[in-house]
């Protein structure tokens, strides 16, 4: 069997809050293969966001190991982690986190700026990704001129622009109404079909229903890890 894309071993994260130490993640060992679509679920404080930050290399674990495509990245330097985030991970946030007063095109170009690509190539790639998410007509729009769903699509284009192996979405529909939520989830689903591994953090079951595997967290531990039966059932039927 091939090395999984993500493999953690006794991954733990502690936060010090004054005198007390909070153990946000308490020894998580799991694997996610390339091409999977995983929903991480759990109530707030369950450690799901901490887990997401760790596998996104936004934060370093207190203990344990994390292998990304076979490489142990748990204890790399800040610059090395930045390089991994830049080239291998794409983030989609609940609040979109687009730069204000900056066009969609420039927002999508942002990661390429730190890759060091020439300007023409940056523009071409950003344009391609925006067209891919259906915003080819709105390259010069600023976030304030776009609807929430469109903003999140710009954010997805930004996550994709560096051809990442892994897309991490943290409550991507949390700020959207249900109709646009379905649109955005459908977009993530189609990305997954193209071979990109998607890990989604959510506490909504109908959002998690788009994933093929569901991992449940509680008190910093994995309490559930199952295939999405409903989806499998649906997939089995011809559309």
């Amino acid at each position: 069997m091939a090395e999984p894309l993500i493999r953690t071993r006794d991954l733990a994260k502690e936060y010090r809050m004054g005198e007390t130490v909070v153990r946000a993640l308490d020894g998580v060992s799991l694997s996610i293969d390339a091409g999977e679509f995983v929903a991480v679920m759990g109530p707030s404080g369950s450690g799901k966001s901490t887990f997401m930050n760790l596998i996104g290399c936004l934060d370093a674990p207190t203990a344990g190991d994390y292998f990304l495509a076979g490489e142990n990245v748990a204890h790399l330097s800040g610059d090395a982690l930045a390089a991994i985030r830049n080239r291998r991970v794409g983030f989609v946030f609940q609040q979109f986190n687009l730069l204000p007063r900056t066009t969609a095109q420039e927002n999508v170009e942002l990661p390429l700026l730190y890759t060091g690509l020439p300007k023409a190539e940056r523009r071409a790639r950003a344009k391609l990704r925006l067209e891919q998410v259906g915003l080819g007509e709105r390259l010069d729009h600023q976030p304030s001129q776009l609807s929430g769903g469109q903003q999140q699509r710009v954010a997805i284009a930004r996550a994709l622009v560096n051809d990442p192996v892994l897309v991490l979405a943290d409550e991507p529909t949390g700020a959207l109404d249900s109709r646009t939520s379905v649109e955005v989830m459908g977009l993530l689903q189609s990305l997954n079909r193209e071979g990109i591994t998607v890990v989604l953090v959510t506490h909504e079951h109908d959002v998690a229903a788009f994933a093929r595997r569901i991992i449940g967290f509680r008190d910093g531990r994995v309490v559930e890890d199952r295939a999405n039966a409903a989806l499998d059932a649906r997939a089995a039927q011809p559309a």
Partner: protein
């Protein structure tokens, strides 16, 4: 990330808050403008003094006769006729610090050449005078020994006299060999002096005719009553590197002895150390320049603190942006550079505008106050360099603060 892209991000960020950026820059604009203007004023004053020193000749003292006392009423300086050619000769002989002591007599008279005439000043001198004043000839020659001792009717003229008598376009060579009459006495022009410019008091030093001392005494002053070898003033030049004040003391003692003055009796001569006066002026104008620049520099410093203040606000306001940039791959040093470039851009644009203000300020002070101002390239470069330094210095702390944010915390910042 390359510098050009960083610069563009910085310019965009500054554009977003135009009013704030402008106000922040104002500190630097005023600071740089003030430094340049103050240095221009100070340098102008200094250059003026330096020019005066140069036209005077270096290490110059002038000895005047003292005053006469007639029936208890004291005449003004120069009313006595106490100085003689022998005093001048004795000073050179007895005081080792003295390089040359040139006696001279001064008078005024109408000078006539052809059909043009001009009222000018004439001096009876010997060749030592040219040495003391460091005044070269541009045409002809100076006096020969026979002309000096035999009261020869020859003259060396200044540039202004040349222009007035021989025409504005006359070449110095044109005057050589020509006859100029002064107080009806015909003189052959044997030399023309280089241009000297204005004196300390603003008078034209080139408006002058020099003739041998004996000639002036015998033919121009009409052999007035008085001591046979009397002179008006003695210009004394001390040797380079010698103390002028020590030389002055020795000359004073020598003169009192020669004039047989009793202790307690007033000097019958006055020594004025022009070079020292000018050097003191130069030193004080230099101190003034430094002082003015320092005060202006303080405003530049205050401008720098303004930049730091705004950059700190900006880092706080843009914490989420910083978090996002880090999440998509910005390294700590990319963030550091971004904010540092922003601060330096702010101060450099301010500096460029400040240069314009400085030029305008210097020009208007020069025009309205009538002062001489001199803008030096060094002063401009220094002000710009200082402004860039301030941008880096005061921008570094906020930039470092930004670069040390943790991506997670910055992203969640509300």
């Amino acid at each position: 990330m390359n510098l050009l892209a960083t610069l563009r991000i910085a310019l965009n960020a500054l554009k977003v808050n135009k009013l704030r950026s402008t106000l922040t820059m104002l500190g630097i604009i005023i600071g740089v403008g003030a430094v340049i203007t103050m240095l221009a004023v100070g340098n102008g004053a200094q250059a003026r003094v330096e020019e005066q020193i140069k036209s005077l000749g270096s290490n110059i003292m002038i000895m005047f006769p003292g005053s006469t006392v007639a029936g208890g009423a004291r005449g003004g300086a120069g009313t006595s006729q106490s100085l003689t050619e022998d005093d001048a000769a004795a000073i050179v002989r007895e005081v080792p610090e003295v390089q040359v002591a040139a006696p001279s007599m001064r008078g005024t008279g109408q000078a006539i050449y052809g059909n043009s005439n001009w009222s000018t000043t004439f001096y009876g001198i010997n060749n030592d005078y040219f040495e003391a004043r460091e005044w070269p000839l541009v045409a002809g020659r100076d006096f020969e020994a026979a002309e000096l001792s035999g009261a020869g009717k020859v003259a060396v003229i200044g540039q202004s006299v040349l222009a007035k008598l021989f025409g504005e376009t006359a070449l110095p060579e044109d005057a050589i060999g020509q006859t100029v009459r002064v107080r009806q006495v015909p003189f052959t022009v044997i030399g023309v002096l280089a241009r000297k410019g204005q004196s300390m008091l603003g008078s034209d030093q080139d408006d002058v005719i020099f003739v041998p001392l004996a000639t002036a005494r015998n033919r121009l002053f009409g052999n007035q009553a008085g001591k046979l070898r009397r002179v008006g003033t003695v210009s004394i030049k001390t040797r380079d590197g010698m103390s002028m004040s020590e030389a002055e003391e020795k000359i004073r003692a020598l003169m009192r002895q020669r004039h047989r003055l009793q202790p307690g009796q007033d000097d019958d001569f006055t020594i004025r150390n022009l070079t020292e006066i000018l050097q003191a002026q130069e030193a004080s104008s230099r101190i003034l320049t430094i002082l003015l620049a320092a005060v202006a520099g303080v405003s530049l410093l205050v401008g720098g603190i303004g930049i730091m203040n705004i950059m700190l606000v900006s880092v706080t306001e843009r914490t989420r942006e910083i978090g996002l940039r880090m999440a998509v791959g910005a390294r700590a040093r990319d963030i550091l550079n971004q904010f540092l470039v922003e601060a330096v851009t702010l101060s450099l644009i301010g500096a460029l505008l400040g240069i314009l203000i400085g030029f305008a300020g210097s020009m208007s002070i020069g025009n309205f106050a009538g002062w001489r101002v001199e803008i030096e390239a060094e002063a401009v470069l220094m002000a710009v360099g200082f402004a860039a330094g301030i941008g880096i210095f005061f921008g570094y702390y906020p930039a470092r603060k930004a670069s040390r944010l943790k991506p997670i915390e910055a992203l969640r910042y509300e």
